[in-house]
Symmetry: C2
Subunit: 137 residues, 2 copies
Amino acid sequence: METWKEFEANELTHSAAHHLIAIHELGAEYGGWARVSDIAKDLGITRGSVSINLRALKKRGYVVTDEHRMVKLSAKGLEVANSVKSKKAGFKTFLIDVLGVSEAQAEIDSCKIEHLISEETSERLAQFMDEHKPAHH
Amino acid sequence: METWKEFEANELTHSAAHHLIAIHELGAEYGGWARVSDIAKDLGITRGSVSINLRALKKRGYVVTDEHRMVKLSAKGLEVANSVKSKKAGFKTFLIDVLGVSEAQAEIDSCKIEHLISEETSERLAQFMDEHKPAHH
DNA sequence: GTCAAATGTTTGGTATGTCAAACTATTTCC
DNA sequence: GGAAATAGTTTGACATACCAAACATTTGAC
């Protein structure tokens, strides 16, 4: 009867998920390392906000920093970043290819729910997509 | 590039959506009217929280109150409550019947995303479900 | 090596959404 | 009709997540 509170209990908030994704993408060419101001620029928020948000993500073990204040995902952070990205990609593909939703709306919807979908659902969706792949000769 | 901020721009928060749904369901037998303390009991939060949250929902035109402090959805509030409920129901059915997700997980996932799904996606999903109804004789 | 620019942090502010607890108002019971 | 229980509101607290602006630190240009 209080299923609705599961939302608050979610491992990651939408904001936290996007901080991790930003680090992952910005760090891609630099061995995983990213800078606070580049994360801020990428997310369109201030350096101050990122600084504070990273403190919490660091404390919770999702990111690590080095002596030059460079930021990197921990193993746990990398795992959840990849999980969220794959959920988003899978759901977006489903929306476009199966339901026929427009690309723009599919991007928005998949971005909104990427961090909320359970492993069970994302696995079943992947299985469904696999079974309904366009036929090949 | 800042699609991720659409989340914050969503018409309803998860909490707001569930306040509206609670009013809708509690009021069902009383001409739509519900009491603060029953809403609080239903949601599992304090009367104080509900009181404050309703103030905002009233200001934004989703609920109305009478001289006895009874609470009811406005036409707009009723519309969004119904929309959210139907999105949840449609998505949950899809998860269970099409993907084979467990009932418990489908309930949680659909509850988390019910207020985030666009009209376009929910319409396409409804259409998909309609086209894939179990065959009848 | 100095000075300016860029970067990172901190502080004080806002908004949401929760709590506990104090307070006020209403209803119910006898 | 008075006392107790119930209902509603308000206050002060906390957590998240943003901003602007002040501040500190680091980097880079010369």
